[in-house]
């Protein structure tokens, strides 16, 4: 085999290498190139740039005055990056690290090694499939995540079956239900182990009353049934009852996790809550020269949040290229019932607003920020905080952080 061994070609140099051409990566590249950074290169392992919006046929993307569908938004972001002067390369997979800010990659042209002055990880998130959720039963066909379902229906026009159970009742779950219906199939039920849907009352009511989709709360999937093809799912309700729903499609929605393979291979410090790389408000990871943006930091926020973050990171990347020191910051943690916060390190200069998640429903919670028993900030949310929905926190208090102090904690008062 000696002649066929791995041969990485000569090392190529760029100023900024962005991994992932979704909203966050494209926005970062566009802003960097527009600001005059010369060699900005974006890699994406898919054949088309755009990330998850590529297969979100529904609207709600882009500026609210000019709403776009996901695919249109993906094209808009790609065009903007390319027009600004960034190189967007698709069908190229970043494989591993070959130096502090050097990556190996492979594509149709073969293996390559790219050394950058700064690397931006924008690798996104995905839903956890049935296996990771440890759902027992047989292993039949017809079991999807929303991501696979949307691609099957909207990108490939594949037949999916006729009767679907959608597991989850958050935004992405309702999008999955729409995709099932767009494919001409029926949604037999939506199922959540929480006591209520995690979307606006209007959206939940529309699905239940106008589309006739029952929502089963306080219930989880206990078993998948079917040989070859899915024939039913068995549910277990919190009170111990079980229900069998006949169906040939099961869509496991939500339960997002970061795509963090490169972060782990690079030994980046990860946040225990988000499970993505730990970053400060300037999107600096623990590895000097390596930034992270988008859903890999907070699985999963909207495309708009990801794009905003990409643009914000561009400024920090520019400062890095002109020789600014790598900030350290202090850890930013949450206490139960909060689940995670991102960014999850903080420096006094940080300005990016924070996103959080809660594990239980909280009516207009009061969030309190403290460091070493010193109160830095306290504010009441105007809305009820629901699991799987964004809770935001301003960054107006960061200048009070003692950069040499202990961890900063966010708690519910």
């Amino acid at each position: 085999m000696s002649g066929l061994r791995e041969v990485a070609g000569a090392v190529r140099h760029v100023d900024v290498l962005v991994v992932g051409a979704g909203p966050a990566g494209l926005a970062a590249a566009a802003r960097l190139a527009a600001a005059g950074t010369r060699r900005v290169e974006v890699l994406d392992r898919e054949q088309q740039a755009g990330g998850v919006p590529r297969h979100c046929a529904h609207g709600g993307f882009g500026p609210w005055l000019h709403p776009l569908t996901g695919p249109a938004y993906a094209r808009l972001l790609t065009r903007a990056a390319v027009r600004a002067g960034a190189v967007v390369r698709t069908g190229v997979t970043a494989l591993d690290w070959a130096g502090p800010s050097t990556l190996t990659a492979v594509g149709r042209g073969g293996p390559e090694t790219i050394e950058a002055r700064a690397v931006v990880l924008a690798t996104g998130a995905r839903e956890r499939p049935r296996t990771a959720r440890l759902v027992p039963g047989t292993r039949p066909a017809g079991v999807y995540t929303t991501g696979e379902l949307q691609q099957a229906v909207h990108l490939y026009g594949q037949r999916i079956g006729s009767r679907a159970v959608v597991i989850g009742a958050e935004e992405v779950s309702y999008a999955a239900a729409d995709t099932v219906r767009a494919a001409g199939a029926e949604v037999v039920a939506m199922v959540t182990d929480l006591p209520q849907a995690q979307v606006s009352p209007g959206r939940a009511l529309n699905a239940r009353l106008r589309q006739g989709i029952p929502l089963l709360t306080d219930a989880m999937v206990d078993e998948l049934v079917g040989r070859g093809r899915l024939s039913a799912v068995r549910l277990r309700h919190h009170d111990g009852r079980t229900t069998v729903l006949r169906c040939d499609i099961a869509v496991f929605t939500g339960d997002f996790v970061p795509e963090r393979e490169l972060a782990r291979r690079g030994d980046l410090v990860l946040d225990a809550g988000t499970r993505g790389p730990a970053v400060d408000g300037g999107l600096h990871t623990s590895r000097p020269g390596v930034f992270a943006v988008g859903s890999v930091l907070h699985p999963a926020e909207s495309a708009a949040t990801a794009a905003r973050e990409g643009a914000h990171a561009a400024d920090a990347v520019r400062r890095r290229l002109t020789g600014d020191a790598w900030p350290t910051g202090v850890p930013l943690t949450v206490a139960a019932p909060l689940r995670w916060i991102a960014p999850n390190r903080v420096t006094p200069a940080d300005e990016l607003p924070y996103v959080l998640r809660t594990t239980i429903s909280l009516h207009r919670p009061v969030l309190q920020v403290t460091q070493d028993d010193r109160l830095l900030h306290r504010s009441r949310s105007l809305r009820t905080a629901l699991p799987n929905r964004t809770v935001t926190l301003t960054a107006s208090w960061t200048h009070r952080v003692d950069a040499g102090g202990g961890p900063v904690r966010v708690t519910v008062a």
């Binding site: 791995e6 069908g91 494989l95 149709r108 296996t131 027992p136 696979e148 490939y156 594949q158 078993e223």
Partner: protein, 467 residues
């Protein structure tokens, strides 16, 4: 070259028909393919080879150190292990000689280790070595607290069971064996000195019959008037952990066998995952391949003790296999010369390791039934696609991608499967008849995302290939 999955079976009679294209049946068909004058059929109920017990095992190439000395199984495992190691090297089946550690977690188990070392010697295996706790933890730093010592068996290896079965079948078909899929045998009659098999796809005539029907071997045996054994399916549920877990474990971590059975093991796989299992549940239903909440919970509890950090990683597959357990302690391989019939029953988890030796043994028995095997030839080697992480995969080979850029275009990102590999699998001697078949041949969509990213694209390639 004949592989059929539909339509009527050929009407011309075969000299030998092997029922069951599991790892044992495929090995036997391959062995018979050495004899060019024989017309051989391999008949399988499912739509692919290796679909029963063969696809859901713990993927270990054993040394046979713990077999019952003097048994047929001990001899065939020892001999098969050598043969399979050589065949794997020749055909590119991934094998990693990681070695095994039998870990003792209490005094009773520690006391059993010297006896196991002696048993290994009686089985002709002399490299086993006792380790104290310090030596054990030096070898396995992530092992859970409380282990007292271990028996190190350096010769135990991990192997790709799926590629092994497919390599046997491919080589058999390339040398003239007819493989008939989707052909469940419903009944066997023996009018006028030949066997008449009634299958889902019509009848098939054959002079000699080999029963390698695995879980159903007892049913077929009864059709021919024998009541030598009963197969009780023993379900083994297994969890496969994400590749991130691979660095947590270096050896196959075997439990010390006790009166309560063989117990749960943790082992790396050649694909770079970590496997935890199996459970052992005796059942009546030969189709009960569902995993259960209780089984998964039990495995996680055991896994937490053996390798605590394992539980922090995600599970990428949960599966259950049925072992063809019988009431006997040994394999049940019996020739019935008057019926030109050989039954190959009770092949347990060691069957993968022993498969080539079983095949040679069965062929000898067949000759004893009076069948003239005719001249013998060497088989042309086959070269299988590499699914092993310890060996270069196509995406890592610059020259290969230079010659064909399809090997640089990755479709399944978690497992780094290229479009070239999927294309090759669809055009192979034994092509897949389902997406699962394609998955087993390429690893496409067996990774952590389970198709979130690539599922639709892989299906599109498969459906294009079917047209």
């Amino acid at each position: 070259m004949t592989v059929t999955a539909r339509g009527a079976l050929p009407s011309t009679p075969y000299d030998v028909t092997v029922v069951g294209a599991g790892v044992v049946g495929c090995a036997i068909a391959r062995e018979l393919a050495r004899h060019p004058r024989l017309r051989v059929a391999l008949v399988e109920a499912q739509d692919d080879v290796g679909q029963g017990t063969s696809k859901a095992n713990t993927a270990i190439l054993h040394t046979g150190f713990d077999a019952t000395p003097g048994s047929l199984e001990a001899r065939l495992v020892r001999e098969g292990s050598r043969r399979l190691a050589a065949f794997a090297a020749e055909s590119g089946i991934p094998v990693e000689p990681v070695g095994a550690l039998l870990v003792a977690w209490d005094e009773e188990q520690r006391a059993a280790l010297p006896r196991l070392a002696e048993k290994a010697e009686r089985n002709g295996y002399r490299a086993a070595q006792l380790l104290d706790a310090a030596q054990l933890y030096a070898r396995e730093p992530h092992l859970g607290a409380g282990a007292l010592g271990a028996l190190h068996v350096p010769g135990e290896s991990i192997i790709c069971p799926w590629t092994t079965t497919l390599a046997y079948a491919t080589q058999a078909v390339l040398h003239g064996v007819d493989l008939h899929l989707n052909s469940a045998v419903q009944q066997v009659n023996r009018p006028e000195g030949a066997h008449l098999l009634t299958t889902d796809r019509g009848t098939l005539r054959t002079r000699c019959l080999i029963n390698a029907a695995g879980l159903h071997a007892d049913t077929l045996d009864r059709d021919l008037g024998h009541h030598d054994f009963t197969v009780t399916p023993r379900r083994g549920q297994l969890l496969v952990f994400d590749k991130f877990a691979r660095s947590l474990v270096r050896h196959i971590l075997l439990p010390v066998p006790t009166a309560l059975g063989k117990g749960v093991l943790v082992t790396p796989t050649v694909y770079g995952n970590v496997l935890l299992g199996p459970t052992a549940e005796d059942l009546d239903d030969k189709r009960a391949t569902a995993s259960t909440a209780d089984g998964v919970a039990l495995l996680r509890e055991k896994g937490r003790r053996i390798l605590p950090a394992l539980l922090d990683e995600e599970v990428t597959a949960v599966y259950a296999g049925l072992r063809a357990a019988t009431e006997h302690d040994d394999y049940r391989i019996t020739a019935h010369p008057s019926q030109a019939y050989v039954t190959v029953g009770g092949i347990r988890s060691t069957g993968l390791t022993a498969s080539l030796a079983i095949a040679a043994h069965v062929t000898e028995l067949l000759a004893d039934t009076g069948l003239a095997l005719g001249p013998e030839r060497e088989l042309e080697p086959v070269r299988m696609p590499n699914l092993g992480e310890a060996f270069p995969r196509p995406y890592q080979l610059a020259e290969l991608i230079d010659a064909d850029p399809e090997y640089g275009t990755l479709v399944c990102h978690c497992e780094r499967v290229s479009r070239g590999e999927i294309r090759d699998a669809l055009a192979a001697v034994i092509p897949p008849n389902s997406l699962d078949g394609l998955r087993r041949r390429t690893r496409a969509r067996s990774g952590r995302c389970q198709g979130f990213h690539c599922g639709a694209a892989v299906r599109a390639l498969f459906e294009e290939g079917q047209r």
